[in-house]
């Protein structure tokens, strides 16, 4: 189309490229450096093309650039498809596109890809601030889309204003769609992981693995307590257990699904019901305290009483659980294979520790005494709790920790205590998960951050079950009672300001963030139904469809009446009505004389145009001489009404009278 083939003026192009740049900036923290340089170089090249000193890229330059983009993405990300690599490829493509944007037709793809790029930010970041930024860049892009259509008279401010106006006008419908449109499940399974992996627990525990998390203040999950409160020292969120020890690393063993979902849940015990909003961690494990009964489908309970989602969590997910508040996980006895698994140690590792455990066992009468002896050993001696214990090089790391450095964090203590217990053939396992949770009264929810990651021990008492032991609490009780920040203020990386209003602000922000999560990010399914029910009560699906249909019909009618009202013709004066009736009659007579079927199929001859009232009557008299008297009378009446002294023009009744008179005259012909 020729009108689209015209060149875009320079100001429009500059504005358009600025928007592309803004979209690039949205993603900038995640992009490899070369891609940022590549993008800026491509944009500057395009800018320099304006001055004419830099040539347009020809086809082999373009080919080279595209290949360079592909190669760069390959070099940075390898051949594994990840969301990051795909987004980077898209960004490389979008950044090269301006090099060939000159005409109107070619600008559209760039604009649309810019929208797309904005929205893809939400694959990685989902905070309210991110949403705001995306809306800002989208408004700018909308402005440039309007600007393109002002052709050679670009006006940036006017376009931006109009674009913003369009966005505002679009919000009500968008909100309606967001509220009522049912959310479909994924159309096909997506197994594309994010590149960096997600911060969180790893499925094995080697020294140092949790220390990294200690420095990370990202949200892990949120808990909404549905009935009872949960005291701080009971907030042990179990993720999974580690049963295999190879002398250095604790690893997950193979687990079997429990016989019944409620094997570990005791209805008589005090319990708490809660809902967990979990951030995507790309693994299957879920969090729960103690013996739990999942209230959401798609959850498996394992033989170690941990919960697992049937699908990997690439997206936020919500589930409900009911758990006993108890330090004991009931299990009457262990199977032979379980007993072997939970007492197995590699031969000849950490001899000193094993000897120490056996000595201690001989000095004590039973298991509880052994445990309290361990406790006094760890809390009395000069053990310290730190996130940076230094590295151990030797093979016998537990020996080194227990008898030399004596400083470490939860995984060191948990691993060592489990080892000591196994040394005397007591079944024990390490549990990985999170401990704690920051309370927010405004949103009535607990936020658990990555730095709350924790490891502890479960020890088996014959005939009773697994008892929770937290050796970290022996050395640093503050860690359990008030969280990581109190335990090691100097090493804490999370929010640590003491200013009261900053803390208050943070609380409010967290509450807002919570509602944002609750409303914006996880609004679907049951919650959606609940909201819709609140809005218009209990309705069946058919009623809902009925209501929606009626709403859309009303909306359509509204639109049509608006269009009708918008184009309503100007009011016609009474004189004009009479004139029009006479004139139409005249033209109809002429049309009939010329053999035309319809008056409208002929045009009004020049000599009839612009006739006065009197003129029309004269012309009519020419064609219908026998009506001369009547026509004259008619003309006189109109003239009298218009031109006599004190005349006010025709009124309604007079007009009606005249029109019916014309009708009668017509019939006489």
């Amino acid at each position: 189309m020729a009108f689209n083939a015209s060149l875009i003026p320079q100001p429009t192009l500059v504005f358009l490229f600025f928007n592309v740049f803004a979209a690039l900036m949205l993603h900038v923290t995640r992009l490899p450096l070369w891609l940022i340089v590549f993008s800026l170089a491509a944009l500057s090249w395009r800018m320099f093309m304006f001055s004419g000193r830099v040539p347009k890229p020809n086809w082999y330059m373009k080919l080279a650039l595209v290949s360079a983009g592909f190669y760069g993405v390959y070099a940075s990300y390898g051949t594994d498809l990840t969301i990051e690599s795909m987004v980077s490829l898209l960004i490389a493509g979008v950044m090269l596109k301006p090099l060939e944007v000159e005409k109107h037709q070619s600008s559209y793809l760039l604009i649309f890809l810019n929208y797309f790029l904005c929205a893809l930010l939400f694959l990685f970041d989902r905070t309210p601030l991110d949403f705001l930024l995306v809306i800002v860049v989208m408004t700018l892009t909308l402005g440039s889309q309007v600007l393109v259509h002002l052709y050679d008279q670009p006006n940036r401010m006017a376009s931006l204003k109009l674009g913003f106006g369009l966005l505002l006008k679009s919000l009500p419908l968008a909100l309606l769609l967001f509220l009522v449109l049912p959310r479909l499940g994924p159309l096909w399974t997506l197994t594309v992981p994010t590149q960096s992996g997600v911060v969180g627990l790893s499925d094995s525990m080697s020294p140092g693995s949790i220390a990294q998390l200690g420095e990370n203040d990202e949200l892990a999950f949120r808990v909404k307590l549905l009935d009872n409160p949960l005291p701080m020292n009971q907030r042990y969120w179990r993720a999974f257990t580690l049963s295999e020890f190879d002398g250095e690393t604790w690893q997950q063993g193979r687990f079997y699904q429990a016989n019944r979902a409620s094997d570990f849940f005791n209805d008589d015990q005090p319990s708490v019901r809660y809902e967990i909003m979990i951030e995507p961690h790309e693994k299957n494990w879920l969090f729960a305290i103690g013996g739990s009964k999942p209230l959401t489908p798609e959850i498996t309970v394992h033989s170690d009483a941990t919960l697992e989602s049937r699908k990997r969590l690439y997206n936020q997910w919500q589930y409900k659980v009911e758990s006993n508040i108890s330090e004991l996980l009931p299990q009457s006895n262990l199977s032979r294979s379980e007993r072997i698994r939970y007492t197995r140690l590699p031969s000849g590792s950490n001899e000193k520790a094993q000897d120490f455990a056996r000595q201690l066992n001989e000095q004590t009468a039973d298991l509880p005494q052994f445990i309290s002896a361990l406790r006094s050993f760890i809390s009395d001696k000069d053990f310290s709790y730190t996130l940076s214990p230094g590295t151990f090089d030797g093979d016998d790391q537990i020996d080194e920790f227990l008898f030399e450095s004596k400083s470490g964090f939860c995984s060191y203590y948990a691993g060592s205590v489990a080892f000591l217990l196994r040394s005397i053939d007591v079944p024990a396992r390490v549990v990985l998960g999170y401990m704690g949770g920051e309370e927010n009264q405004l949103s009535n929810a607990l936020s658990v951050y990555q730095y709350d990651a924790h490891a502890w021990v479960e020890v088996f008492f014959e005939g009773q079950g697994w008892l929770r032991l937290d050796p970290t609490a022996w050395v640093a009780p503050e860690r359990v009672e008030s969280g990581l920040q109190r335990a090691i203020p100097s090493e804490f990386q999370g929010f640590k300001s003491q200013s009261p209003w900053l803390r208050e602000l943070r609380k409010r922000w967290q509450a807002f963030d919570y509602y944002w999560n609750d409303w914006m990010l996880s609004y679907k399914g049951n919650q959606q139904q609940a909201i819709l029910q609140d809005l218009w009560g209990e309705r069946t699906a058919n009623e809902l469809i009925g209501i929606l249909t009626v709403a859309f019909v009303l909306l359509g009618l509204g639109l049509f009446s608006f269009l009708w009202w918008d184009q309503k013709s100007k009011p016609v004066s009474y004189e004009q009505k009479v004139y029009q009736a006479l004139f139409t009659w005249l033209v109809t007579i002429d049309a009939a004389n010329q053999g035309a079927v319809d008056r409208k199929s002929i045009a009004i001859p020049l000599h009839l145009k612009g006739l006065t009232m009197q003129g029309v009557c004269r012309e009519l008299t020419k064609r219908l001489p026998h009506l001369e008297a009547s026509l004259n009378a008619l003309n006189k009446q109109v003239s009298a009404a218009l031109y006599q002294p004190n005349a006010n023009g025709l009124d309604k009744s007079k007009t009606r009278q005249l029109l019916s008179m014309i009708k009668i005259l017509k019939k006489t012909v």
């Binding site: 189309m1 893809l120 989902r126 309007v146 259509h149 002002l150 369009l166 679009s170 967001f178 001859p605």
Partner: protein
């Protein structure tokens, strides 16, 4: 093009013409405005679909919400695009008389009764050769070039007015059947003049007499000479009355007669008569025109010429088509 398609096109044009009657002034109303997504709009919808699928597959409400905003923008842009051309008034003014095959420029006036200005309008006989009108604040005059192919009242084909403003996703257009109140004269055919007595008119027949054309010289004043032709400057110098002499082709009296051309078809006769009229006018002859049903008496000058040409143009024409 197949016959079937032609029939459909013909029917469509007939329907359109009945729906949108010819007039001098058109206000674009909902009855006259058509709107439909264009190629760009469909590209937008495809990308929008992709975005929604991404949102669904990643179960990402934020991506979905951006998708919903874009769906909603598309709907808003239907109204915005419509409103941009709605209620615009297009008025056709009278265009100059011209001959078949000449380019005539058709004067159009666009009136915007709304407060907000209209933007990005295109006007033309077809989509690809349309003329851009970037902004119409309240009034804008434009001219469209047109080459008429038929004598008579000027019969301009439908004019397309369209716009994709503000987002380019939809094309909103209207067909204008405008009445320009102009007359198209037959294309003149240059043939030597023949009078009704069968004599041709040769150059030798044109005697040079004293007329009004080229200055030739002075001669002694004679009684009856016009005072306007007296060389007053000369008189002031020499006290002698002299009369200025001009060279002129003697304008003879010609009767342009329809019946002379018997045997030719109607249109050709009109074209020849048109050529003769122009010839006679150029040579400043007085001429009369005789065609069936109308006789224009002897006369000369622009007005007379146009009267004759108009009579030829509208011969057997009756009404406008």
């Amino acid at each position: 093009m197949s016959i079937g398609l032609n029939v459909i096109r013909h029917r469509f044009n007939a329907w359109l013409k009945k729906r949108l009657p010819l007039s001098e002034e058109i206000q674009l109303s909902q009855k006259r405005i058509f709107i439909f997504p264009n190629k760009v709009g469909f590209l937008f919808l495809v990308l929008l679909g992709l975005l929604l699928v991404t949102g669904i597959n990643y179960q990402n409400n934020l991506i979905l919400s951006i998708g919903f905003i874009m769906v909603s923008l598309f709907v808003t842009s239907i109204i915005a695009t419509y409103q941009n051309i709605a209620s615009l008034v297009i008025k056709a003014s009278a265009c100059d008389a011209c001959f078949v095959g000449d380019t005539v420029s058709l004067p159009l006036t666009l009136n915007n009764p709304n407060k907000t200005s209209k933007a990005g309008l295109f006007v033309g006989f077809d989509h690809s050769h349309a003329q851009l009108i970037p902004v119409v604040e309240s009034q804008q005059n434009i001219r469209l070039s047109y080459v008429p192919q038929q004598r008579g009242y000027i019969n301009v084909p439908k004019i397309k007015l369209f716009s994709v403003y503000p987002l380019g996703l939809l094309t909103c257009w209207s067909w204008l059947y405008l009445d320009f109140n102009g007359v198209v004269y037959p294309k003149p055919v240059e043939l030597p003049f023949r009078s009704s007595d069968g004599e041709g008119l040769d150059d030798t027949d044109q005697s040079i007499q004293s007329g009004m054309d080229e200055f030739d010289g002075l001669r002694m004043y004679q009684k009856g000479d016009s005072l306007k032709r007296v060389a007053w400057k000369q008189y002031a110098k020499t006290q002698q009355l002299m009369t200025k002499q001009y060279l002129d082709y003697q304008g003879d009296e010609r009767c342009l007669d329809w019946s002379v051309l018997s045997g030719f078809d109607v249109e050709y006769r009109l074209q020849v008569l048109c050529g003769w009229a122009l010839q006679a006018h150029q040579q400043q002859s007085e001429f009369s025109l005789k065609i069936p049903g109308q006789t224009i008496p002897l006369g000369s000058g622009e007005q007379h010429l146009h009267q004759c040409l108009k009579a030829l143009a509208l011969f057997n024409y009756g009404v406008k088509k």
